[in-house]
């Protein structure tokens, strides 16, 4: 099996090496050396816990916002009656994402900068006199993450809504359920697989985001991905970077478990 061998050498083995390196000491130039130590994990959960929590918080918030925006949007697209309208509506969500992620993120620098478009418009309208600091904040990172990953929420939910039989809504109404009840007891459970998949697809890359906080966050919006990146420069610390990476993998695995478990409960019920 050449493919399995390839994945073992270039995927599994590197992850094992990262695990080993994360347990070693920092040598000269940031490379790994013996003896074994747990100090990088102590630092990850010690001094760097604020960045860890910030990453989790931003990723969680990104997921919630994407869900709140993406769920109705997926419904809107799915309920267009004319096929061409539906396809255009879907296309308009996907099309921006054919552009390179870097450029899409950079576009927000134009909008959010001190001399950027939003500040320019607000000043022209005399709403503000001093520019608002929008760029290089956690807010900017949040906007960039939502922007970057919204389609990952919309598309799986859209697929779920497409499979949803709207006669169930009629049935629920006929049986006397009000709108809220119909939504919570019928619509939401039946579209849950899409919601779960969307949440996993948004949360996981958000936790590991590197480009978005790098271009939009500055020092205030630093996330764990940037911290890892910083460990690989000249004054870096490869074992620390590895430990941070392992912790991030742990978070990802945990969220995958939640997804798989949640999915099984949904389909089992």
């Amino acid at each position: 099996m050449p493919t399995a061998l390839w994945l073992l050498v270039f995927f599994v083995l590197p992850l094992v090496i990262v695990l080993v390196v994360s347990l070693m000491s920092r040598g000269r130039g940031g490379v790994a050396q013996l003896p074994l130590t747990l100090q990088h994990y102590e630092r990850t959960f010690g001094v760097f816990s604020i960045i860890l929590w910030r990453s989790l918080g931003l990723a969680g918030l990104t997921t919630v916002i994407c869900l709140l925006v993406g769920y109705p949007l997926a419904f809107f697209i799915s309920t267009r009656r004319r096929r061409i309208v539906q396809q255009v509506a879907l296309f308009l969500v996907i099309l921006p994402f054919w552009t390179n992620f870097l450029i899409r993120t950079y576009a927000w620098r134009i909008l959010l900068g001190d001399e950027g478009t939003i500040n320019g418009v607000l000043r022209a309208l005399s709403i503000i006199s001093e520019p608002l600091q929008l760029l290089n904040t956690q807010f900017a990172v949040l906007v960039g993450l939502v922007y970057g990953f919204l389609p990952f929420m919309v598309l799986p939910i859209f697929a779920s809504v497409e499979r949803f039989n709207f006669r169930y809504v009629d049935a629920a109404r006929d049986l006397g359920a009000n709108e809220t009840r119909t939504f919570l007891r019928v619509v939401l459970p039946l579209t849950m697989p899409g919601v779960l998949a969307g949440c996993a697809l948004v949360f996981i890359p958000s936790v590991g985001a590197f480009v978005t906080p790098d271009l939009l966050g500055g020092t205030k919006g630093l996330m764990i991905g940037n911290l890892i990146n910083n460990q690989f420069g000249g004054s870096g610390n490869m074992p620390l970077g590895s430990a941070l990476s392992i912790v991030m993998m742990g978070v990802v695995m945990l969220s995958l478990l939640v997804y798989v478990f949640g999915n099984r409960r949904q389909t089992g019920a």
Binding site: P2, T3, A4, W6, L7, F10, F11, P14, L15, I17, V18, V21, V31, V69, P72, L73, F75, F76, T79, R81, L92, V93, P96, W98, T99, N100, F101, L102, I103, R104, Y106, A107, I110, E115, T117, G120, R123, L150, F166, V169, D170, R173, E179, V187, A200, I204, P205, G208, A209, F210, L215, I228, N229, F232, G241, S242, S245, M249, V252, L256
Partner: protein, 298 residues
């Protein structure tokens, strides 16, 4: 009441229900969402034609920044040159082509093995195949960076030969993340395929080799092509993993663009971004058209 009328009535009621279900929010939400998705892109394109260097207000139309790119006169402080950009683009095409070729063969092979074979560790392999798609890019990027460093250090110790990251490391990295995508696309195609066709071929006396090349392969070919196109696109588009596995002189287009974007907001960067957006939209459009044709032919 005819069946058609029933369907129409159902559709009408369905629409009424949905409107009531979501109310006003359902109408406001898409407007805001589409504005949010498109505003940054439109602003970027708009300001690539702005006379003033500022992105705070639009002062007038100019093609100055586009001609600056063509004539190689982009702000003295920046490291831009058209030649460098074209070179990066060539590097991207080179890496993309080779990585796609290898990943397509390996990905299609494993898809076939997963669909037709049964062997120990199949479920484990299934999970392993799924992982590169879901784990954050940065984890894969740094694990490959460390892996190559360790491997090169060992080679240095053993043979005295010093190796450096370059095209070979980028290609190996790209193949690794592309295998999974190719496998997923080809597997979907295999799942749609009627397995009795292969049985019929062997009943008619074809050996496994003939069955594969005369029956299975032509049937999964559209899937293989779609997988290859996806791999090529991902390869051309990848920044994070390339950034961590590239060496000196092997800058790909995204890595080059990242260098530009990190500098500052200049009108030329807006113009380059606009060109790249047009280019990638064009490329994806072509690949979709090809896939559409492939699907309708089969």
């Amino acid at each position: 009441m005819s069946a058609q009328a029933l369907v129409n009535e159902g559709a009408l009621r369905r629409n009424r229900r949905v409107k009531r279900l979501g109310g006003l929010g359902l109408w406001l939400n898409p407007l805001v969402a589409y504005f949010f998705l498109w505003a940054p892109i439109l602003v970027l394109v708009l300001f690539s034609f702005n006379q003033s260097k500022s992105v705070a207000s639009f002062t007038g139309f100019t093609l100055q920044w586009y001609s600056n790119i063509l004539n190689n006169v982009v702000g003295a402080e920046s490291a831009f040159s058209t030649e460098l950009m074209l070179n990066a683009f060539r590097n991207s095409l080179f890496v993309g082509t080779i990585a796609t070729a290898i990943a397509t063969v390996l990905g299609a092979m494993i898809a076939l093995a997963m669909a037709r074979g049964s062997f120990p560790g199949k479920r484990l392999l299934d999970g392993l195949l799924f992982l590169p798609v879901v784990i954050p890019e940065i984890t894969q990027a740094i694990s490959l960076a460390i892996f190559f460093k360790v491997a090169f250090d060992w080679m240095h110790l053993l043979s005295g030969e010093r190796m450096f990251p370059g095209f070979h490391t980028i290609i190996m990295a790209h193949v690794t993340f592309n295998i999974s995508y190719v496998a997923i696309v080809v597997r979907a195609r295999l799942a749609d395929m009627d397995p009795t066709l292969e049985e019929a071929a062997s009943d008619l006396g074809a050996n496994p080799w003939q069955t594969f090349w005369r029956v299975t392969f032509p049937l999964i070919l559209p899937g293989v092509v779609a997988g290859a196109l996806l791999a090529f696109t991902l390869s051309l588009d990848d920044f994070v993993i390339t950034f961590f596995t590239s060496g000196v002189g092997t800058t790909t287009l995204p890595v080059f663009v990242y260098g530009l974007l990190k500098l500052t907001v200049t009108p030329e960067v807006n113009a380059i971004s606009t060109i790249m957006m047009l280019l990638s939209t064009f490329l994806v459009g072509i690949s979709l058209a090809l896939q559409g044709r492939g699907a309708s032919q089969s």
